[in-house]
Every structure is written in structure tokens, then in C-alpha cells.
């Protein structure tokens, strides 16, 4: 059988729509993940044990549940538990966003804790309050170290959006299946999809690697 990508390219508008959906969900779920992740990281860094435990439980739950199970559960089980209606879009954003929050929280927590304890000591001894210490001394140092792992997690997040296709959300992978269903050319379609993902993510990975090297220097 001859490899003929023109069949795929003829349906480029369907793929373009899928790409937009993929990017949209990546941005939404990363946004939610970072926002909740920041909150959970702060919980984990709190001086009170109960708050720390809450943060810990959140992280462990979402880091240990398989993403596919979480998405299925959010879409099919959660509405029955809560007696509410949830659209597939909402279920997808919530599932993927909460999942990301567990990983982002760990990156943020570890970044803050990786700053030497002596930095806090020095800032306290100089009379700086909690917010001043965090904003001016701890976070500027922690953020630099967080950037490479945050980028790595964001790359994972983009790849994870492909699982949304099981909820029939028309992301890149779902659209590929659709094209394949009426062209009968899975070889071309899935090859092109794979290439699109790699072309999309390779620059991000390269950038992340560069930042990591810069950080190590």
C-alpha cells in the first residue's frame, strides 16, 4: 500500500479544529492545575499539621489515580454521586485540571523547599516578614528552579489531552479517528498526527532543556 498523505491534508480543516481543541484544553487545564496546585503547595508548606495533611492527601490522590480512570469517573460516576448534570467538556477540564494540580503542587512545594533554610534564617534575622521573605528572597530563587519541571509537566499535560477523546471531546486524536473512519487511511492519518505532536512539543522540550542547563550553570 502506498503512503499518501494528501488524503490527510485534504481534510486539514478537521485536523486544525482538533489542534485548536487540544491547545484550548491544554491551556485551560494547565491554568486550573497551576492555580489549584499553588494553593495545595501553600497548604503543604503551612505551619499547621491539619493543612499540611489536607495538601498531602490531595497530592497523593491525584498523583496515584490513573488519568483514564479519573476521567471516566468524573464523567460517568461523579454526576450520579452528586445528582447533577456534567457535560463532557466540564468533566474533561475538571478531571485533567485536578490531575495536573497534584503534579504542579509537588513541583511548587519542592521548589520552595529546595531553597536553603539559611536564606529564611537570614531574612528573618533582618526583620523581614513572611510575605516579604517569600516575595523577595525565597520565590525568586525557587521559581528559577521550578521552570524546567513546570515545562516538563506542561508538555505531559498537552500529551494527556489525547485521553479526552474517550469522552468524545474532538481533540486532535479524536479528529484523527474521525478522518480515518471515512477515508480508511489509518496509516497516513495516525502518522501525520504523531508528527504534529512531535513538531508541537519538540521546541518546548528543547527550550526546557536549555533552561535546565542554564539553571545548572
Amino acid at each position: 500500500m502506498k503512503f499518501d498523505p494528501s488524503i490527510v491534508l485534504a481534510n486539514w480543516d478537521i485536523l486544525a479544529y482538533g489542534l485548536l481543541v487540544t491547545l484550548k484544553y491544554t491551556i485551560y487545564t494547565c491554568g486550573i492545575g497551576l492555580a489549584i496546585g499553588l494553593l495545595v503547595a501553600l497548604l503543604q508548606l503551612a505551619p499547621w499539621p491539619l493543612l499540611r495533611l489536607t495538601g498531602r492527601v490531595w497530592v497523593e490522590f491525584f498523583r496515584n489515580i490513573p488519568l483514564l480512570v479519573l476521567l471516566m469517573w468524573t464523567y460517568y460516576a461523579l454526576p450520579i454521586f452528586l445528582q447533577i448534570q456534567i457535560g463532557k467538556e466540564t468533566a474533561g477540564v475538571l478531571g485533567l485540571g485536578f490531575y495536573a494540580s497534584g503534579f504542579y503542587a509537588e513541583i511548587l512545594r519542592a521548589g520552595v523547599q529546595s531553597v536553603d533554610r539559611g536564606q529564611t534564617d537570614a531574612a528573618i534575622a533582618l526583620g523581614m516578614g513572611y510575605v516579604q521573605r517569600m516575595n523577595r528572597i525565597i520565590l525568586p530563587q525557587a521559581l528559577r528552579r521550578m521552570v524546567p519541571p513546570l515545562m516538563g509537566q506542561t508538555i505531559m499535560q498537552l500529551k494527556n489531552t489525547t485521553l479526552l477523546s474517550v469522552l468524545t471531546i474532538p481533540d486532535l486524536l479524536y479528529q484523527a479517528g474521525y478522518i480515518s473512519s471515512f477515508t480508511y487511511r489509518p496509516m497516513e492519518v495516525y502518522t501525520v498526527i504523531g508528527a504534529v505532536f512531535i513538531l508541537l512539543l519538540f521546541p518546548l522540550s528543547a527550550l526546557s532543556r536549555r533552561l535546565e542547563r542554564k539553571e545548572a550553570a
Partner: protein, 281 residues
């Protein structure tokens, strides 16, 4: 030695501190007078660093009382416990300036920015004024050109001198040094000790945790020997280091006097060649 007034600048009373089952401070009393240099010596784990960190409440004691220039910083006696807000604690704490064993300069800030940071954000000093003062302090520390350099571009000795300048920028009444030369290469110790000596000459009140017994002997008005969480002995350097009243102190000091005795011949030999050459000439 500069004049020591009878005024008490810092007073700690019945300080106790435990980490789990480890009772590191078991009721320590200490008064520091204005202009006085107190050196804390003792073996590792004797509680001297813990005591120093209690003095500015970097470590909170379990019990006892801390007063700096008549302002209470901490009090927990029996059921009575003084409640201070973070702001109130900070206001008393900044009467002290602390210098750490590992310098703890802010690596993302230049030397100058390290020094002006606290005056700027804590005391709200105008930037121009803070910078002028920082340059003056750097010059005083023998580092007039180091202002624009980052800590990673400075030697350990230079970093520690910047750290001293940073602490001085808050115009503290008392300086607390936590083993300021322990993390330094031997050849860099001298420049940091010189900076501390200079502060002493200017009449700064200081508490210094140190392993440099010779330095303590030379500079201190009073040496406090800590052992197993209490002040085991204290007094003027000469009397204290020579007294044999406390066997643990005697054995602690013994190691250093033994070292000095062994190195003694070196000092007499060092002067010999110069005499010989002057004879020739």
C-alpha cells in the same frame, strides 16, 4: 578593650529548649553589657549555637525570658506567656544583627543589593540613602569595589564580610556571630577576624560563638564555656582559660594549649632567619 558600661543590652534568663528528647538548653542565664564582647565556646552539641539563635528568636525557646534593651522579646515562665505579634517580634529582633556560619547571602542579589535589602523593605529607608550607607559599610569592610558583584563571584572571606556589612546596615545594638569563620578556608579566616576585631574597637556589643580559642582569648571581655546545655564556666579570658576548676573546660582548652605548645618552636624559628640576615647586613 573598649569601655564596658554597666547597662545590660541583652539579657536571657532560664532559657530551656528541647528538640524531642534532646534537651539542648537546660536553663541558661546570660547578661551582655553595652560594649562587651562575649565569646561562647564549647564542644559541638553543647548548646552554644542554639543559645545564640534563641537570642534573636530564630529558635523559640520552650521556657525562659529574653529582653533586648529593656524590650521583651520572649517570655514563658510557668503559665505566663507573652504574646507578641510578628511585627512586634521583628521590631525587637532588628536590634540584633546576625552573621551566620555559611554566610547566607542572597545569591540572586549583588553585594550592594544584599546590604540595602532590609533597610529598604523593613526600615523603608530611601534607596539613595541606603546605597550610600552600604558603600560606606563595604569600604569599612575593605571591599569598596565589591558592590556590583554577586555572592558567587566573591571568596568565602569576602562573602562573610559582605554578610557582616549587611547585618550592620540595620544599625543593630548587638551583633550575634554564629561560628563566623568555621566555613572558611584557613587562609581566609584572618580577614574576617580582622573585620570583627575592628567592630570591637569601635565599641560594638557582640556575642560570638567560635572555635577560634586564640581569637576569643585576644578579643573577648568575657568567655562563656557551655557544656551539656548550661553555662559551665564564665569569666575573663585569662582567668577562665587558665583555671582548672572545671575538668571538662580544662580538657577542652587543653587541646588548644597542647597545639600551641607543639607549634611553639615554629614561632621562635620564624624570627631566627630575619635576625641572621640583619646580622649579615
Amino acid at each position: 578593650m573598649t569601655a564596658i558600661s554597666s547597662e545590660i543590652v541583652l539579657s536571657v534568663r532560664s532559657i530551656e529548649k528541647s528538640y524531642g528528647k534532646n534537651h539542648v538548653l537546660r536553663g541558661v542565664d546570660l547578661d551582655v553589657h553595652r560594649g562587651e564582647v562575649v565569646c561562647l565556646i564549647g564542644a559541638s552539641g553543647s548548646g552554644k549555637t542554639s543559645l545564640l539563635r534563641c537570642m534573636n528568636l530564630l529558635t523559640e525557646p520552650d521556657k525562659g525570658e529574653i529582653v533586648i534593651e529593656r524590650a521583651p522579646l520572649f517570655r514563658s515562665i510557668g503559665d505566663e506567656r507573652l504574646k507578641l505579634s510578628g511585627r512586634q517580634v521583628s521590631a525587637v529582633r532588628i536590634k540584633t544583627g546576625m552573621v551566620f556560619q555559611s554566610f547566607n547571602l542572597f545569591p540572586h542579589r549583588t553585594a550592594l543589593e544584599n546590604i540595602i535589602e532590609a533597610p529598604l523593605v523593613v526600615k523603608k529607608v530611601p534607596r539613595a540613602e541606603a546605597e550610600a550607607q552600604a558603600l560606606e559599610l563595604l569600604t569599612g569592610m575593605g571591599l569598596p569595589d565589591a558592590g556590583h558583584k554577586y555572592p558567587s563571584q566573591l571568596s568565602g572571606g569576602q562573602q562573610q564580610r559582605v554578610a557582616i556589612a549587611r547585618a550592620l546596615a540595620m544599625q543593630p545594638t548587638i551583633m550575634l556571630f554564629d561560628e563566623p569563620t568555621s566555613a572558611l578556608d584557613p587562609e581566609l579566616v584572618r580577614e574576617v577576624l580582622a573585620a570583627i576585631r575592628q567592630l570591637s574597637a569601635e565599641g560594638m556589643t557582640m556575642v560570638i560563638v567560635t572555635h577560634e580559642i586564640g581569637f576569643a582569648y585576644e578579643l573577648a571581655d568575657r568567655i562563656v564555656f557551655m557544656d551539656q546545655g548550661v553555662v559551665a564556666a564564665s569569666g575573663a579570658p585569662r582567668e577562665l582559660l587558665l583555671s582548672n576548676s572545671n575538668p571538662r573546660l580544662a580538657s577542652f582548652v587543653g587541646r588548644f594549649t597542647e597545639q600551641a605548645r607543639l607549634l611553639g618552636p615554629l614561632t621562635s624559628q620564624a624570627t631566627a632567619p630575619s635576625t641572621a640576615s640583619s646580622n649579615k647586613g
